[in-house]
């Protein structure tokens, strides 16, 4: 029984490894597709290179051909992107780089995320630490029971 379990474990391990490696092996067209979506067509349409839909676009064919040739040569992704920047300028990249001032583009949303979390936590702490006059006066649970008011509050808060 134990041997059988170990065999199954080994088999599962091999399967997991195969599943991990197989997609990573990626063919040329997959790389072209992936890198082509990180570049912009320079015809002025502002669209991703492989999605430029302009009839007879003068940039689409040469840019795509350069990309395919570079992938065929086995150039690295960063090398291909750098060669496009050298030729067409930084606007050829579909997203800001993660260097210099451009890094701010990537950082700011996460800064806003942290500020948001901090603000919500502060608001919640403040609220819980300083009850409203209505709550402090015990209108919620300690005062004279007023069934009509409680009913109305329950109705509003539960929607029943």
């Amino acid at each position: 029984m134990r041997e059988f379990s170990q065999h199954r474990l080994r088999l599962a391990g091999v399967l997991c490894l195969a599943l991990t490696i197989l997609p990573a092996a990626g063919d040329t067209s997959a790389r072209v597709e992936k890198i082509g979506h990180k570049l912009i067509c320079m015809c002025g349409c502002e669209q991703v290179l492989l999605e430029c839909n302009h009839y007879g676009c003068p940039y689409l064919t040469p840019e795509s051909a350069e990309l395919t040739a570079a992938v065929d040569r086995g150039d690295s992704e960063s090398g291909i992107l750098q060669s496009f920047v050298a030729k067409y300028g930084v606007t050829v990249l579909a997203a800001p780089t993660n260097t210099g001032f451009d890094r701010i583009a990537w950082i700011m949303p996460y800064v806003a995320l942290l500020i948001g979390v901090g603000s919500v936590v502060l608001v919640v702490r403040n609220w819980r630490g300083h009850p409203t006059p209505a709550q402090a006066a015990g209108s919620g649970t300690k005062g004279t029971p007023d069934l009509a008011r409680f009913r109305e509050q329950a109705r509003r808060e539960t929607d029943l």
């Binding site: 583009a105 608001v123 808060e157 029943l160």
Partner: protein
């Protein structure tokens, strides 16, 4: 004709000006005669609708009559343009679309002013605000972007024609829907500003505002996907959302408007977040104006380049005035917006709304930041960078996934406090179901196509897709469990079946269950979007009998034909579609050439199923070989996006219908009210 139109717009400006100034004076003065002055201001506002309507009518009739003496008609129409597109000329260019803005605003103003008996003083305040906004747009129409400008020199025999991209049926309905949404946010803004200015007692204004917001939000919810559907069916790149600045501009007010529709419940039920709600309404309106500014000013590069000009300064000034007025009135009346209750537990409906609002605002900020970063970059570095889909997909998508999680969890939390036992009871089965969906998608063979056989470890986009599938399923299961639980109770009491019980349940609390259906629509849209990383495409020069394979489909070039009509000539490819060796369809991708504009345009053809879309584009001909170039895309699950939108619209309409009968909660004598308040039942309730 042009003189009539110009005169109508001048009269409209005068009437709106009087409605604004007269109404404002009557509100400030509050002396004898102010009621009469306010009434004349209201009537002037109503009359301004007639004048603006006349102006719009003149422009449309001029398009139908091919009156090319009017520059706008010459630039956006031609004799052979089909009649529906001549009607759409009204919003096809800048001047016309500003006139359309003004027409819709005066229409909303008309409804508001006719319903003034609801609350005369509040409606008088709102009427003044609407008149002020109307004055701005009429100033633009009379001095900066005149739709009735006359052509210089000889009158041309024919017009320059409408942009071919706009000659598609959806362009007749997409802009009006979008504009009804944009413009409609003026009404909640007017009520909010009016209520703040007059320190409105009670929360009646928030009920009125919520209802108006829901209507306009519904229009925007329909308008944005209609634009996506148009892009999908016309632009020919195989996608529906490209994070273009103008697309982003429409998304931002939708996000803040959605946040408001959630947080307003905290104000209605618990008297909380009054300041926050006020500013959400203000922000939503300002983002609507900002969206119009982005569309018209040319401050950022966009594929929507057909309506740009230099009226951006007007919008910047207007936005500054709005901000100053809102800021001043808030500062002056901020004491009026104190909360009545505070948060009692982190695990409660209130806290889920807090996080939900924070995420909506965060996504909105991310979209705004990405849209404007090229401008900032040019200002700081001297050159523009491109902020395209890779940025938004990497940054906004994770935030949206968090929001999807809250969409599933939030509605099942109780107001004030939720016990862990209640959480476990409500979420156990939906969570197990969602996990099962995720495991199933990973475990199935990739050969099944579509979303099956996902490998989340292979690529970040697959991981996002899998998370979307799991969280979308969680939303669907939680909504279903809510309907089933409530339906069972009603079925048990009334003797109806479960389905009948669920229908009655929805009728009894349309707002709550309409909201759940909207959430269901969101989940379906997410399922449609998760197929994006699995898209495939293939391109080939195709002669007669040549084959192009994409996924399980084989396209065979049967023949090519040409057609011609007065508006355009077209080359059409006739492609037989085979699957598993059997012919299943014939598709007709088309390439048109429009005579008036001398512009070509692809018209893709789409074979749509619930599992995937086969999307075929006639890209043109190879100049050397003369062979047509065909590109085929295989886009999994796209249909679910359009289905999800329809479900959302249905949910919105349901939420607007009044409840069929009030449900009375019975309080057992044996349970004291004090005990009931101390140990609130773990209801999974709320809108």
């Amino acid at each position: 004709m042009s003189q009539v139109g110009s005169f109508a717009l001048i009269v409209a400006l005068a009437l709106s000006g009087y409605s604004f100034l007269g109404g404002l004076y009557a509100l400030i003065r509050k002396g004898p005669g102010s009621a009469q002055l306010s009434e004349t201001a209201r009537r002037a506002g109503i009359a301004s609708f007639v004048a603006v309507f006349l102006g719009a009518l003149v422009l449309v009739v001029s398009a139908f009559r091919n009156d090319f003496s009017i520059a706008y008609i010459y630039q956006h129409s031609n004799r052979d343009l089909p009649l529906p597109y001549k009607f759409a000329t009204l919003w096809s260019g800048q001047e016309g679309s500003l006139l359309f803005w003004s027409l819709l605003l005066s229409g909303y103003g008309l409804v508001l002013r006719l319903r003034y008996k609801t609350d005369e003083r509040l409606f008088a305040h709102a009427s003044v605000v609407i008149a002020a906004v109307q004055v701005f747009f009429l100033l633009l129409l009379n001095f900066a972007a005149r739709p009735f400008s006359i052509m210089q020199g000889n009158i041309p025999a024919d017009g320059a024609g409408l942009n071919p991209l706009l000659q598609y049926p959806e362009m007749v309905i997409h802009p009006p829907m979008l504009y009804l949404g944009y413009v409609g946010f003026t009404v909640p803004f007017a009520f909010a500003l009016g209520a703040l200015a007059m320190r409105y007692p009670g929360d009646k204004w928030i009920h009125i505002t919520r209802r108006w917001t829901m209507v306009t939000w519904g229009f925007l919810t329909l308008g944005i996907p209609l634009g996506a559907h148009w892009a999908y069916n016309v632009l020919g790149w195989g996608g529906y959302w490209g994070w273009d600045p103008v697309e982003n501009a429409s998304l931002m007010p939708w996000l803040t408007g959605t946040a408001f529709l959630h947080s307003v419940m905290m104000q209605e039920k618990r008297g909380m977040l009054k300041t926050w709600n006020m500013w959400l309404v203000f922000t939503t309106f300002m983002l609507s104006i900002f969206g119009t500014f982005l569309t018209r000013s040319g401050v950022v590069n966009s594929v929507h380049a057909f309506a740009q000009s230099s009226i951006g300064d007007w919008f910047v000034a207007f936005l500054a005035i709005i901000l100053a007025v809102c800021g001043y009135l808030y500062w002056k009346n901020r004491e009026h917006l104190k909360s009545e209750h505070q948060l009692e537990s982190m695990i409660s409906r209130e806290s889920s709304f807090l996080f939900n609002n924070w995420l909506f605002l965060l996504i909105c900020f991310t979209v705004l930041w990405g849209t404007l970063f090229p401008v900032l970059s040019e200002w700081v570095q001297g050159h523009k960078v491109t902020v395209g889909p890779p940025f938004f997909n990497n940054v906004a998508v994770p935030f949206a996934l968090l929001l999807l999680l809250l969409t599933a969890v939030g509605p099942l939390l109780a107001w004030r406090k939720t016990s862990f036992e209640s959480l476990r009871r409500n979420f156990l089965w939906p969570a197990i179901g969602a996990l099962a969906v995720g495991i199933f998608l990973v475990a199935t063979p990739a050969g099944w196509g579509g979303p099956f056989g996902m490998r989340p470890w292979a690529d970040l986009s697959y991981l996002y897709a899998l998370m979307t599938a799991v969280l979308g399923s969680l939303v669907i299961f939680t909504v279903a469990s809510e309907f089933i639980r409530g339906g069972r109770v009603i079925a048990g009491k009334t003797g109806r079946g479960l389905a009948g019980g669920m229908v009655q349940l929805a009728h009894r609390n349309t707002r709550r269950y309409g909201g759940y259906i909207v959430h269901l629509g969101i989940a379906l849209i997410c399922i449609g979007v998760l197929g994006t990383p699995l898209n495939q495409s293939s391109e080939k020069e195709m002669g007669f009998g040549d084959k192009l394979v994409v996924g399980p489909y084989t396209l065979v070039g049967r023949s090519y034909t040409q057609e011609e009509n007065p508006n355009y000539s077209s080359d059409i490819a006739i492609m037989d579609v085979y699957k598993n060796g059997r012919q299943i369809d014939t598709l007709y991708p088309e390439s048109r050439f429009y005579a008036a504009t001398q512009q070509p345009q692809h018209i893709p053809t789409v074979r749509s199923t619930l599992k995937e879309d086969l999307y075929v584009v006639y890209e043109g001909q190879n100049q050397d070989t003369g062979k047509p170039i065909i590109k085929a895309h295989l886009n999994p699950l796209v249909s679910w996006i359009w289905i999800g939108v329809l479900v959302m619209v249905f949910g919105t309409v349901l939420a607007l219908i009044p409840n069929s009968a009030p449900i009375r909660a019975t309080v057992r004598d044996s349970v004291s009210a004090r005990d009931a308040m101390a140990h609130p039942a773990p209801v999974g309730a709320g809108d």
